[in-house]
Symmetry: C2
Subunit: 201 residues, 2 copies
DNA sequence: GACCGTAACACTAACGGTTAGTGTTTTGTA
DNA sequence: TACAAAACACTAACCGTTAGTGTTACGGTC
């Protein structure tokens, strides 16, 4: 039983945060590649092995924090209004996510990520996992009965939109442009014949 | 001056092939993760540094061989018949590439790749570079004047189709299904008028 | 044919991320 | 209070990769 109440949990969270803070501070100060794991561990005053018991990799020190990404996308699907069409809901969420990166107080972090190939690769492979979750969420919605392949494809396209928009000069316009394409791609997968209208349930 | 005729070039190519062969043999025998760089170097009877002067990384030992991928895609764009539409040409090429992986004598290699996260990640980040080349090729075609964003998006979608199809139970059908979506997405970017669904910004 | 610049190759040693192995302390619960 | 589990620490290593330093073999030139 035992609701994992917990002092231990709290201490663990504190240690984790201490590590994450130290890492981010050093990374922003000296640059991601110029800071070693041993530096971070020393700065956070923990052992290297302790660091790795909290974070799976060096890259995770950057990403595995308040990243709602996956949840926010799947919830944009599952929690949308009863008859709201899928694609606009996703577009709105992607817009919000992109805005959050571009104009945020956390902009230096994203500049750092863009500056390091290791971090960019890590992010992309993360996003691929997110795409799979998103595909599952879409496939699970009884209102839109599409093939698994169509769901997976659309999920990838949405992630592509995010990825391209984040690198673009005008992120907002980029999202809009790509989502027009996604909308068209989605409608053509509609099971009930095809025309402009969508079938809903 | 001097077509780089060459005994030296030949010897270099031989060494490179010797390394690649040794690597592939060991990888297939014991599994990619169970074989170290030092093992490969020893098997090929070269020094570790020599190995790395021929291949940029361990993963490159698997991929950096007869991989036409990038060229084949860009050529499918640039070398297609004068008035042949873009998307069907790309679809044909992707079909060929997927078939080549799935039913080939080289199937064990692809099974090995799918079994190793490191290799999968490497492949994906490779494909992303390929997508950029493809986008450039599409953007350079004077026959289809689309925005850079539309070109980049379509290029990504095409790569997604390849990626999803390779993992699917029925690759051919998967390519066909996703390319119907891509076709729709591409047509909606046509510069020659048509009512836009909404106003954008 | 001797000569020189260059590129391939080798060897040692190391660096940086990551993990195994082995305790030691803390903490929740019996 | 005692015990099991989990966090934490430390050493030492593994593995991919690179720097530094030579040595050798080739190709083009005089």
């Amino acid at each position: 039983m035992t609701v994992p109440t917990g002092r231990r949990e709290r201490k663990k969270a504190v240690t984790r945060q201490k590590i994450a803070d130290a890492a981010l501070r050093l990374f922003l100060e000296r640059g991601y590649d110029a800071v070693g794991i041993r530096d971070v561990a020393a700065e956070a005053d923990v052992a290297v092995t302790t660091l790795f018991s909290h974070f799976a990799s060096k890259e995770a020190l950057v990403f595995e924090q308040g990243e709602d990404f996956e949840q926010r996308l799947t919830r944009a699907v599952t929690d949308r209004a009863p008859h709201e069409p899928l694609i606009p809901a996703l577009r709105r969420e992607i817009q919000a996510l992109v805005r959050h990166c571009a104009a945020d107080s956390a902009a230096p972090v994203w500049r750092m990520i863009d500056a390091s190939p290791a971090l960019r690769d890590y992010e992309e492979s993360m996003r691929r996992r997110h795409a799979e979750s998103l595909a599952t969420a879409i496939a699970a919605d009884p209102g839109l009965s599409r093939t698994p392949t169509a769901c997976r494809a659309i999920a990838r396209f949405v992630i592509d939109a995010y990825s391209l928009a984040r690198a673009a000069a005008d992120p907002k316009a980029t999202v809009d442009e790509i989502f027009q394409m996604i909308e068209a791609a989605w409608e053509v997968t509609c099971p009930s014949a095809h025309s402009t209208g969508r079938a809903g349930s």
